[in-house]
Symmetry: C2
Subunit: 314 residues, 2 copies
Amino acid sequence: MDIKKVTVAGGGVLGSQIAFQSAYSGYDVTIWLRTEASIGRCQPKLDYLHATYLKTLDAMKQNPAAYAYGLMPREDVTPQSCEDAKAKVEAAYKGIRLTTDWDEAFGDADLVIEAVAESVQQKIDFYTELAKHLPERTIIDTNSSTLLPSQFAEATGRPEKFLALHFANEIWSHPTAEVMRHAGTGDEAFEATIAFAASIRMIPLRVNKEQPGYLLNSMLVPFLNSAEALWANEVATPEDIDRAWTLGTGAPAGPFRILDIVGLTTAYNIGIMDPRSKDPNTVQGKITAKLKEKIDRGELGLNAGKGFYEYPKQ
Amino acid sequence: MDIKKVTVAGGGVLGSQIAFQSAYSGYDVTIWLRTEASIGRCQPKLDYLHATYLKTLDAMKQNPAAYAYGLMPREDVTPQSCEDAKAKVEAAYKGIRLTTDWDEAFGDADLVIEAVAESVQQKIDFYTELAKHLPERTIIDTNSSTLLPSQFAEATGRPEKFLALHFANEIWSHPTAEVMRHAGTGDEAFEATIAFAASIRMIPLRVNKEQPGYLLNSMLVPFLNSAEALWANEVATPEDIDRAWTLGTGAPAGPFRILDIVGLTTAYNIGIMDPRSKDPNTVQGKITAKLKEKIDRGELGLNAGKGFYEYPKQ
């Protein structure tokens, strides 16, 4: 499976990053957007990534802590190689095409990465239309965080060439690529996606069965929940719970630092999916009630300047 | 509450460390042992700690990575201060008294730290006899990892002066001290134990309610279980699950590295406490079956040279 032309469907935060990193890695990249207005919202994201990649390469010349895995192997970093890599950034920035035209976007794509809104119906509508424009050879990867590929396999019309490729935010420095097959995914598409992820300097992780939350969130959610339970039951303060974790495991951040990064609204939204959260006498009910109190006070986490901790204004 | 005389009951791995660290910090320390044979088993542990503290102080003179929190504040470390601290190691080593005599051990103790075997009956027998020899003022802390202080509060005869003080292994470099009260613990004993823990250079964490597993294990057990579930369900390999965690959270070790350190037998013993582990069709049943396979092959973890990973022979 020789992948050259990559089309990313959707130009949001992740879609634009996936497109930029793929173009930086030498792929011929198109971003498909639903409307002209979406093109208007996507272009500033590409401008930002262009500036960020250039700035990161400059910082990497002198500061080892600025190293971003996605930009080059660590052993290749020299002031000259960072300078040279700027040409790849410029080529990526100039080379990415934005279009609302289905045939232009998908008519000759080798790989489609779907990063449209997290709505079952919107995705089904997208895949149903996509099937009319896509060559038979094309592999489709969904970047969905919360929905499962099996929900859309039929709509794609090519379940054996359909799977999930899930990125973390700021992919140039957080290079996790969880590659997840559903029961009908063929080996060829699975291996081709793993190879593609590695070729854009991601670290591919093989998720051999459908798993809600992939690998990271399958561990993060119960871990954070256990910490929230200690807090909601008034066993200890967030600070002491974090200290128990960082002292005990050597991790750089405890669960409440992580919750501040994730955002309390996201934690709350995950919490209320559990039916027990409706009963105030259960631990889940206590957790969601206490999270809601903080959210109502505007203590939403790192981005708000305050969550479980306070953060200096940027 | 003025604590000067500390008696540690039990001279096992943790008991000897607690005694040595307390003596190093200037306390008048006695170790009570049940039999003369126990004294014979405890002495080599103190010899080892004596050598380890001296060796660590020597290493700290030159190597910042050798720093052990329990030995002195980081900002105080100089070649001279490390040399000077050896006198405290020698004084601790010479000063610790070992005895099987109840009155000698407990008759004038300000604080008793119980570190006898993890057996409900043995602890009840110990506390019942202890009550006959202990001054009224004395606080009793249990270092039990798996039993709850409320199980023994009545046997001590002084529930308001009884609570838990839980240490990690190698306390001179892993200075977590989880201080846990039961419902009947008084504020004075709770605060005095926190102050004592800080005075022997531990970092006290306030556990304000009884919580099986204290803080760290209350998070570690569900976290490790979620990772074991991914492995037992054949979603991904231990290596990829660990990578998802370390890449996603910046932690130095993923769950299977931690399981190798904890030991697979311990993980198995925790697992079989869940009644679902008896049903091979449940996730818990699959986890315990797969752990047992590895244990039967001698893949017990770090100490065995092989667990989920292989380790070079020491």
